[in-house]
Subunit: 411 residues, 4 copies
């Protein structure tokens, strides 16, 4: 009997992604997973990179494709991965980002406060586990790093996990920042497992160096692009203002499910006690925010309407970036001009002028590190064996300060 059940999906990056007819396909078809189609991978970056409209849905499928290749490689090299483990690690990577809300990271702290998206992902997995009669138990164990074979968790979450391998490649592709491209296939070819840890064969060192450099480039050139920062901070401010107005009992438009989250903060405990909260959350996507902006641009609250219009019409705040803190006098001076010009008090003006820092770690070996398997059998951290990256600099947290305020202010 012929088995022709493989489903094939066109992917501009990998060519084709094959999906087997199994629980994995059922999960993909589930409404929780389908919602990722409407959650953009890179928030508002499309305001700078017009190609960057790819979604969490696509990223998750890409990860599935790569982990499949990784499993083939590792088995080829003699690592034992059972069929159950294979399925579980595939489910885990597929769902690792399912907890993201609208605009992914951009609104991470605006819609749900103080709960990392990984915890929400866990809630979704548990919910699906109930629906699928316990078939996700092993996946959850691996995701939470409670399974004995630790390398399976590392595939999903580590300095060199499948998640990063896909998102760097994908974000580089869709933004058109070709230089962020990495040798995904080559790196996976260099994977091996030693003592239950992912290691990279020595001849892969240059690829790893390039991976680290490309990641750094993508951070400064895309993820922390100054116009992206400005627009995402403005969007955060819009939601902050909406919450404030709601607290003051001002009536503003919001779909019910979004209102639930603007109205009050929910702890992870809330989520566990009130199952409908997760359903509410699962109902949210980028479109809710856009439609709110369109309503809010007509609001009689100046702050809300002004900022909403600015995002919709891409008339963004000016942003300056520098390596040290911005001078307080300058901020005060601009604030005063703005307060006068727009009749704002000193709390309100902060919606239009604000300064903070963004941080990036090029390589952060505190939690885990990238291990190289030397030809002599030794295992070393990449920074120890790379003549280039043998540098304290790399581990150093790099901060940049930004200051946003309206254009056309005469100083």
């Amino acid at each position: 009997m012929k088995n022709k059940k493989n489903k094939i999906i066109n992917d501009p990056i990998y060519g084709f992604i094959r999906l087997e007819h199994s629980i994995i396909l059922k999960i993909i078809n589930h409404r929780y997973f389908q919602r990722l189609r409407h959650i953009s991978q890179l928030g508002l970056s499309y305001l700078v990179f017009p190609g960057a409209h790819h979604t969490r849905f696509h990223h998750a499928l890409g990860c599935l494709h790569l982990i499949n290749n990784a499993i083939i490689q590792l088995r080829n090299k003699g690592s034992l991965i059972t069929f159950e483990e294979e399925e579980a690690v595939k489910i885990a990577i597929l769902l690792h980002d399912i907890g993201h809300g609208p605009f992914s990271h951009a609104l991470e702290n605006s819609i749900i406060n103080n709960i990392p998206h990984e915890e929400i992902s866990c809630l979704f997995m548990q919910r699906l586990n109930e629906e699928f009669s316990g078939k996700l138990s092993l996946a959850i164990k691996i995701f939470k790093n409670k399974y004995k074979k630790k390398f399976l968790h590392q595939l999903i979450c580590s300095q060199l996990d499948i998640d990063r391998l896909d998102y760097l490649r994908r974000d580089s592709f869709y933004t058109g920042v070709a230089e962020g491209n990495i040798g995904t296939e080559r790196i996976i070819n260099m994977f091996d497992i030693i003592n239950d840890k992912i290691v990279i064969e020595e001849k892969g060192i240059y690829s790893i160096e390039k991976f680290i450099i490309a990641r750094r480039l993508m951070y400064w050139q895309v993820y922390l692009h100054k116009t992206v920062i400005a627009s995402e901070k403005m969007l955060e401010n819009i939601l902050k203002r909406a919450k404030e107005l709601i607290k003051k009992n001002k009536k503003i438009y919001s779909p019910t499910s979004l209102l639930t989250f603007l109205d009050k903060k929910h702890s992870i405990k809330n989520f566990k006690n009130k199952p409908h909260l997760l359903d509410m959350f699962s109902d949210l996507n980028d479109a809710d925010i856009f439609v709110c902006l369109k309503y809010w641009k007509e609001s009689d609250d100046f702050i809300l309407s002004q900022l909403s219009k600015m995002i919709l019409n891409r008339k963004l705040l000016k942003i300056e970036i520098q390596n040290k803190k911005f001078n307080n006098d300058k901020i005060l001076k601009i604030s005063n001009i703005l307060m006068k010009k727009y009749k704002l008090n000193c709390d309100e003006v902060k919606y239009f002028i604000f300064s903070d820092k963004v941080i990036n770690h090029t390589y952060n070996p505190i939690n885990d590190n990238i291990n190289i398997l030397m030809k002599n059998g030794n295992i070393c951290d990449i920074t120890k064996v790379s003549s280039l990256l043998k540098l304290s600099n790399l581990k150093k947290e790099i901060s940049k300060y930004y200051l946003c305020y309206p254009k056309n202010i005469n100083l």
Copy 2:
């Protein structure tokens, strides 16, 4: 004095797109043009091709890039194009699609009836012309084909226009259907102007053949992909139902601007008499439809809620495709089962079972044709000189019939 004013945009396809600081940049920054960022190029195709989230905004910039190359080529070959004409034709291509509403073609007849998007594009251009004190007059003339140099209009609208050169390449790229790719640059290199008409140099024949074949492939494999048809017809039905309910004074959610168009039909005359109509329309984008779907899935109208849920969770109707009309008995039989199962009357059931045809012309030389400039100086239609395409078949309209109905119907 240095002029560093060129703005550079990353494009995954062409590498970089350069924008000069001129009226063109001002038009791009205008809110009418910015709205195209939220109108997807390919409607619901992303339900089949998860990479296909590119927008009308991006397509318009791509066209601008290509027409720039075409102008350089044509001038190199001795065609006279003045600076004013260059600017005008660039503006015209940039705005040729600005009249599209949410989901582009998919809802072309659901939101505005019987007005082609080109006419709405014209309205936008006229509005912008007022704002920019007449600087778009020549662009409008070219767009309407009222300018003496007819080839400029052909660049924007003909069998082998810049529009097609960009969208085939771009849609092929983002869907991952690599086979739809065409030799954009080579074709533009082969452009020449003879007797005020675009012609292709003889050695470009194979590229043109491939262009025609690729276009045909993209039609059947992407634009008329059966799952895409099913989902877009369902979406049309949703809007049809919404209008019906509104007519019956049922209260359903809709943002005001969308309501304006669901509530009644507007003729082109209406648009001309009531300027705010165009503003209403300019306010619409994909997000409005998505949010409606989310509200409507909770509606107490079974048809509206059911269809909305189906789109949101991608539980689509089954679709069959064949070369001849579907048998009426079969349709009746299924209709009866459905009417019984869902308690629908014979009008209502048509929302869940429907049949029609889709049509494609691979090459339609009725209006204009693709002219080849032979080495001996003669100019011939491509079908006359291509040994492959010398075929009546190519000009023939090809129809395919589809039938949609719910899965899990036992016949």
Copy 3:
């Protein structure tokens, strides 16, 4: 025990090609196979396409990669392919072109007359079979189509074989004629075996159409590019002249192994009786011809020296192409001018002015055809089910006539 023996080769087209440590790697390392590194895939095409320096060696590895994917696909769909068959078909594809001599097709009839390269390939395989104690017997059987499972032979040699899938893609890639690119991976995904024959699933029809069109485009745009024809015919003439001079006992330079083949014609029988002949042949590669040209450009035979110089310095004959035979008067007239100008007799002048035709079959279903597996289970020829290719034209042999003669002849 870990098995890390896979060898990985960088390929600009497929990314990586994996070679298992087995008899296949031993064959690749054999001097017979290594010689393919110095035999260009596309003869003198690099004179027009400066990137086209790829070799038969690389093509053979590419085929190995693709057949591996095809085997995985077919097994997935339920076709039984034993391990022995897998190895044999891989060996057969690897060696299918090993019988090529210098410049591949360009000198096919100049070095060895009347023996197709496939027969020489067979001789090599038999020789290797002896060396490897009979381990190639099954591969030879498949290659000669004497094995019961006919579809294995079809993978190597048919209208849609792995050979074509690789060479179209590779030649398109290295010449830079991007339009010749085909959907290799997609086509292989559509492979299935029915009644011991390769068939293509119905939804692959458009890809097959595109494959046929791309092949046609590559023929006219690359393989039969007029400058390529001119240069290859000139090279043929050079070898013809060398043979003539040798026959007349004129002393001209030649490496011994080449001399063996210039000196007299060898039948396939000769090859079988005199084993050293094959060794002589295996010693030949492109470099021999180049060095001869460099010696011959100093020859005191005008014809030999003149033509050699022309190739080396790329001062080629002019070539005209048309659909009908060239007028004899024109040829005679030019011949007369040339005879006078260069003091040539009427036999000699034919080295500098000659006319013939080139032929291409876009699709030739006489021997075998491309079968489509329809959804209803029927199997049909592609031309029957493709609305585009339902054309007698496609099967028609297309001839073009060329006429070559020196530039700067005043007619």
Copy 4:
């Protein structure tokens, strides 16, 4: 009157390269330039990377394409480049590598000793200048850095010259080491001229970092790949042995032009005094070496025949790489085994066992450096402003030691 004289060449990397009909096309058509078609860009690297058969000819055309883009950029930014300077700098880049002999760098010191290829390039330029009645004078001045506008020379020869921008991209492309790819277009977009020096705009810093890293990766992964080193050193040894045998009056095959250079050393003075020397040199290409190998593999000199066979059949010496010098005892021990096994004296054995080091400078700012134009107008060295590359390490010369000797030696 129409000017359709542009010649278009297909390039797999840049799509199309346009050549104007001018002296540049005449130079390209000259036999001195055409010979570059037969000189491989990367020596014997194709033994490791089967795609790496690209030539100096193709690289030179690629440089021409890039310098054209650079000139457009610089003019856009207000730099004055006259038409004469444009032509001259294009000629200079086109001819910068024309002095390369067979296998480019691999035999740089085997065929001509102690004369850098740049000086031979100069000789060719002067010869062409005579032929073209002084039209290359400005090009030569720029090439020799004797022209007042120093930045024109920098485009051809500096830490970030057009040469590097093309060869890194091209070598990465043809070897398939995709990670060596660099953002050529972006870097050129960031070019500017300040105080007669090329500078890079600040926002190009990450691209420059990536350029440096990619260059380093290409060095260790491709140019200094251990198998490439082994084979190229073996080839050097072969030529050394040939010279030795000639000196001892042993008769070995060699084409006359090659013999001229094997027979004795020629100083740059010789070249200047004896014009035919350059013609002899211009006659050499890769094919001469290959044909010699084929003759020499039959030589009765064991060393010559053995090494030639090893290259031809790719049975290379084993190579070990390490960061410190190899232990002399080990070398001695192996030497002794070899002397006994092959009956070699202690001079002769050095052809089969040898050790040395290879050196790479990732960034060498001694001669010149990469300057960044900061937003505040300052100009800084890249290492000063890159938080990553602020490292002594980068400037450090990195050495690796290698040891080559036959496989199958039992130690």
